[in-house]
């Protein structure tokens, strides 16, 4: 067992009101993700297994250790890689289940804070990562720039949203929300900024290897990304 310094908000950290509020905010995204997954599976049952593959892959990534930069033990979230390979909409459903397993099997995150963690890691992170990646891909910049910035900015977005969630929940008393946000983002910036960069570089290297040698396999996941419209 190792100490881990991820950005999962731990069990019990959020007060009941905020835990429920973030869970509620997660639901519409989850609904969209489920509706699309159902349609994909009805079209082609293979999608169920591909989604399960995506989930297990994301979980195992989060159990690996990143090259250590700060000396603390950190792990990749894999959400950016997942968003680029499987599409951000699929990542909401996958992220929920992965976070559930991370809480139960690895003790990262928690059951009461799962709503907040899904919003930061499985909604904001993947959508920002994929959005920026898709946008930059259309420009004339090299492909790796799009992947690197998508993954790094997506990882940073997750961290900013988590700091926001913590600041909202703990901004009582004399200090305002702004001061609380500075405080939480400052404390976690020490590890999260290097992690974002490392994760970005790793995503570029992994996708390079996948695209160079196995483009067909990666293309076979296209249905998950596009929702089957072009299938």
């Amino acid at each position: 067992m190792t100490l881990s310094f991820g950005m999962h908000i731990m069990e019990g950290f959020l007060p009941l009101g905020w835990a429920v509020a973030w869970f509620g905010l997660m639901l519409p995204f989850l609904y969209l993700s489920i509706v699309r997954a159902r349609r994909l599976i009805a079209d082609n049952p293979r999608a169920l297994l591909l989604l399960a593959f995506a989930g297990a892959f994301t979980f195992v990534l989060s159990a690996l250790k990143l090259p250590s930069v700060t000396g603390s033990c950190s792990h990749p979230t894999g959400m950016a890689l997942g968003a680029i390979l499987f599409g951000p909409t699929a990542m909401v459903l996958i992220g929920l289940i992965v976070l559930f397993f991370q809480a139960l099997l690895l003790a990262h995150g928690g059951l009461t804070t799962i709503g907040a963690n899904v919003v930061s890691m499985a909604v904001v992170g993947p959508f920002v990562a994929y959005g920026l990646y898709a946008l930059l891909k259309k420009t004339r910049l090299p492909h790796w720039v799009a992947v690197l910035s998508g993954a790094a900015v997506g990882s940073l977005a997750t961290y900013v949203v988590t700091a926001l969630q913590l600041a909202l929940a703990f901004s009582g008393g004399a200090e305002g929300f702004y001061a609380a946000f500075i405080k939480f983002s400052g404390i976690f910036a020490v590890t999260q900024v290097p992690i974002a960069i490392v994760e970005g570089i790793l995503t570029v290297l992994v996708l390079d290897l996948l695209w160079a040698y196995n483009r067909n396999e990666v293309e076979s996941l296209k249905d998950l990304r596009t929702g089957g419209e072009q299938a």
Partner: protein
């Protein structure tokens, strides 16, 4: 390979009805968060730890290790809550002036951080009671009972099964890389890790295709039909859970009178 999972399968509580186990933990989590007082947090932390070690027979050493996992987040998070700011240095220790405000620990923020730490530890111990006594398969069973959409339950079951083969693949690749001088130096760490991840992806994507072919040959149409293990529901367990919950409520309503 995942020790929590192993403990759940060999737990003396394995055959208890999963809905009762989940009910106990969910009610404790809810009470700790909803009542949010130190006495309830301490009661839950103590009773859950005792249940894990004495009733569920998890070695205290392993349990202590588990409690240390979220320590980094706990310490950093509580430190952030303990440090507060004010427009004047009065009542702050150590009063440091930065960015137009005085920063330090005040009495109020110290108590808030302390209560928060106890609340987190109580919730974590309750979650461990569930994780260490209830395998995921049983939780999927409860999810089906609660009519959670079948896409979620099917995927949870499938991902759970996949996790173990994926971890095995990752471990095999890792050993192979280590024995060939992988992960040497900063650059080596990156190239080895990315090779591991991309090969993990490909190997298991092939395995997934093979699995799909196998299922298809057996009449797969998008949903998985499995036989559920019958669980024994004992009224005694339900009674024990209700006694536990009501004693927590008693502590909350009457205990505070003497503590104050």
């Amino acid at each position: 390979m995942i020790r929590i999972d192993q403990a759940a399968y060999s737990s003396p509580w394995y055959s208890f009805h999963p809905a009762v186990k989940l009910g106990l933990v969910a009610a404790s989590l809810l009470l700790v968060l909803a009542l949010d007082t130190e006495i309830i947090s301490i009661s839950v932390l103590l009773s859950m730890s005792l249940l894990v070690i004495l009733a569920a027979r998890v070695s205290w050493r392993f349990y202590l290790n588990l409690m240390l996992i979220p320590l980094c987040f706990l310490v950093a998070g509580c430190a952030a809550v303990a440090v507060t700011n004010s427009i004047q240095p009065h009542g702050l220790w150590p009063a440091v002036y930065a960015g137009g405000l005085w920063w330090g620990i005040s009495d109020g923020s110290w108590h808030q951080a302390q209560a928060l730490m106890l609340r987190c530890l109580a919730c974590v111990s309750a979650m461990y009671l569930l994780a260490l006594t209830t395998p995921v398969v049983q939780l999927v069973y409860v999810m089906r009972m609660l009519k959670i959409p079948d896409v979620i339950t099917d995927l949870t079951g499938l991902i759970y099964i996949n996790i173990f083969t994926f971890l095995q693949t990752a471990q095999d690749i890792y050993i192979a890389q280590q024995s060939r001088c992988g992960y040497r130096g900063f650059k080596g760490q990156f190239s080895s890790l990315s090779a591991l991840v991309s090969n993990l992806f490909l190997k298991n994507l092939h395995r997934t295709s093979a699995c799909y072919d196998g299922l298809l040959a057996r009449g797969f149409n998008g949903s998985l039909e499995v036989l559920e293990e019958p669980y024994i529901f004992k009224p005694v367990h339900l009674a024990a859970v209700s006694i536990f919950i009501s004693s927590l409520l008693m502590i909350y309503f009457y205990g505070g009178r003497y503590a104050a």
